[in-house]
């Protein structure tokens, strides 16, 4: 009985090398690991590509990018990934400036100094695209005040938002905060005039009284500052206490702050509110 002669057929010719190659590749790849990929936002497609991938639909492109931003784990993100996120959020804002989640996330997460311009871009566009929503203006103003140190522009942003809410408490809250920022951002006489106008425009009642108090104390402060300058002209030095102005007969008595905080003179001889003048003041 002889051995059967080996007759290769097409099936075996295909199968055997394929099996060998498959086993070899498994063995070769088993010791290798794919290079680690940055976990979150390491790349951003150009705007045109985002729009084309969404079938030309910019709203859909905004939503797709929005989902991506939303699921990013910010606790694990590095600085450059935050920069990518900022750019991605600017893209979403460009695609659909009214996207509510986008401006909210921008206000919450893009709070490092180098990311503030991106946040402000998103917030300003959201404010323009959402005429009934005051919150983007509030966040925009907040960033102007705290990060860009521009209380005057910040106050204007808040005042822009007042007409967007029907809730009286929200209107009062925005105006009261704007009044505080106006006090820090404008010359005292200008601030007194602006807050006085706000008081005149407020409906009669508690809030108008409150705003009138704020305007009145600014008028008093402005007068104190003018008198402090006069004191300097008369004596060649700055006053060190408010009472110095009374002693010099420039004012009749120490004015009463209607909000109860009171006035003081700082180390440079400049009158101010007691709670805002620098430490060590009198």
């Amino acid at each position: 009985m002889g051995l059967m002669p080996f007759r290769p057929n097409g099936f075996a010719v295909l199968l055997v090398p394929a099996l060998l190659a498959y086993v070899a590749t498994i063995a070769a790849l088993s010791g290798q690991r794919p290079p680690s990929i940055a976990p979150e936002l390491s790349a951003r497609l150009p705007l045109a590509a985002q729009v084309i991938m969404a079938g030309g639909d910019r709203y859909l492109a905004a939503n797709m990018a929005g989902f991506r931003v939303l699921v990013a784990d910010t606790f694990r993100m590095k600085s450059d990934e935050f920069a990518t996120q900022a750019q991605l959020q600017k893209d979403i804002s460009w695609l659909n400036p009214a996207h509510e989640d986008n401006y909210y996330i921008a206000a919450a997460i893009l709070s490092q100094p180098h990311l503030i311009p991106a946040a402000q871009y998103v917030l300003r566009r959201a404010a323009d695209a959402r005429p009934r929503d005051w919150t983007p203006l509030f966040y925009y103003g907040f960033n102007l005040y705290h990060f860009e140190k521009n209380p005057a522009a910040a106050a204007q942003a808040l005042l822009e938002g007042v007409s967007r809410t029907q809730d009286v408490a929200e209107q009062w809250g925005l105006q009261a905060l704007a009044a505080r920022w106006i006090e820090r951002g404008y010359r005292t006489d200008e601030a007194a005039r602006l807050v006085g106008q706000m008081a005149d425009n407020a409906p009669p009642g508690t809030f108008r009284r409150y705003m009138k108090f704020r305007a009145e104390r600014l008028v008093q402060l402005d007068r104190l500052k003018t008198m402090a300058l006069k004191f300097r002209d008369m004596y060649g030095r700055s006053p060190t206490r408010i009472e110095d102005l009374v002693d010099a007969r420039l004012i009749e008595r120490v004015p009463v702050d209607p909000l109860g905080v009171g006035f003081a003179i700082d180390t440079a001889g400049e009158p101010g509110f007691r709670d805002t003048v620098k430490a060590g003041n009198r």
Partner: protein
């Protein structure tokens, strides 16, 4: 023409591919429902937004399949000779089929729109978002805009079918046109805002886009979803001009298609 509309409607409703695409549309509405979970602040707005996008995608595909089924394939298989053997004009065939596609689009739109309304109403039941979506007139005006958008794409696909010798061409041209027309508004806006500060790019493309703007209508103009989503209503003037643009463009391409069909030899 009426016979072509009726036969087109019958054929359109019976088609298998159409049933598949229609099921896809319902899946997309389900996706809209699920997409609400990805929004912490305005889940219903996102559900409606994604739903509009899904509806447009589905309606475009449906209309292209119908054009393919009712016209392109008939021409390709020479079945059109049988249709034209009746004492009717070729114009009656073309416009009858177009109106049949539009009727099918309207029917599908109603079903998909009602499904979307249900999906939005059911999404995120335990959260009352600050800014409610407009599910009344704003919603239906936006849906009407979608139908107008799709009717332009269908007209282009139909006109392509009258000259095409390959049955897939109307589908491909229609899909490309739908993307280009929708993206045109974004492209014009991008260049108008200086292309992110890339002045050479803006200069290089501004002229080309300006030319394309006259050849392809800006279909984003009939997308009025800002109204139901964010309460920003378009002016009547903007709506009127946009509708006129879409209808006029459809009329132009259908007239060209009619002319091509009249002159075509079916040997």
């Amino acid at each position: 023409m009426f016979e072509f509309i009726v036969s087109g409607l019958r054929s359109g409703i019976r088609g298998r591919s159409v049933q598949i695409v229609f099921a896809l549309g319902l899946v997309l509405v389900a996706v809209a429902y699920l997409s609400a979970s990805f929004s912490p602040r305005h889940p219903r707005t996102v559900a409606l937004d994604v739903g509009f996008s899904g509806m447009r995608f589905t309606l475009i595909l449906l209309s292209l399949f119908w054009v393919q089924d009712l016209v392109a394939r008939e021409i390709d298989r020479k079945i059109i000779l049988q249709s034209l053997s009746f004492p009717v004009s070729r114009a009656a065939f073309l416009f009858g089929r177009y109106f049949a596609v539009l009727a099918l689009v309207c029917l599908s739109t109603c079903i998909l729109a009602l499904s979307l309304l249900l999906a939005v109403a059911l999404s995120s039941p335990n959260y009352d978002q600050d800014f409610r979506v407009g599910l009344g007139l704003p919603f239906w005006v936006t849906i009407a805009g979608l139908v107008i958008d799709v009717s332009v794409v269908a007209a282009v696909a139909l006109a392509t079918a009258t000259v095409s010798t390959v049955s897939m061409l109307p589908l491909l041209v229609g899909a490309g046109f739908a993307i280009a027309g929708k993206a045109l508004g974004a492209a014009v806006d991008y260049l108008a805002r200086g292309a992110d500060g890339d002045a050479p790019f803006a200069d290089a493309w501004a002229g080309r886009v300006e030319t394309v703007r006259w050849l392809i209508p800006d279909l984003s103009r009939v997308d009025w979803r800002d109204w139901p989503l964010y309460g920003v209503a378009p002016s009547i003037e903007v709506i009127a001009w946009s509708v006129l643009m879409a209808v006029a463009y459809s009329a132009i391409v259908l007239a060209l298609g009619w002319r091509a069909l009249e002159n075509r030899e079916f040997g």
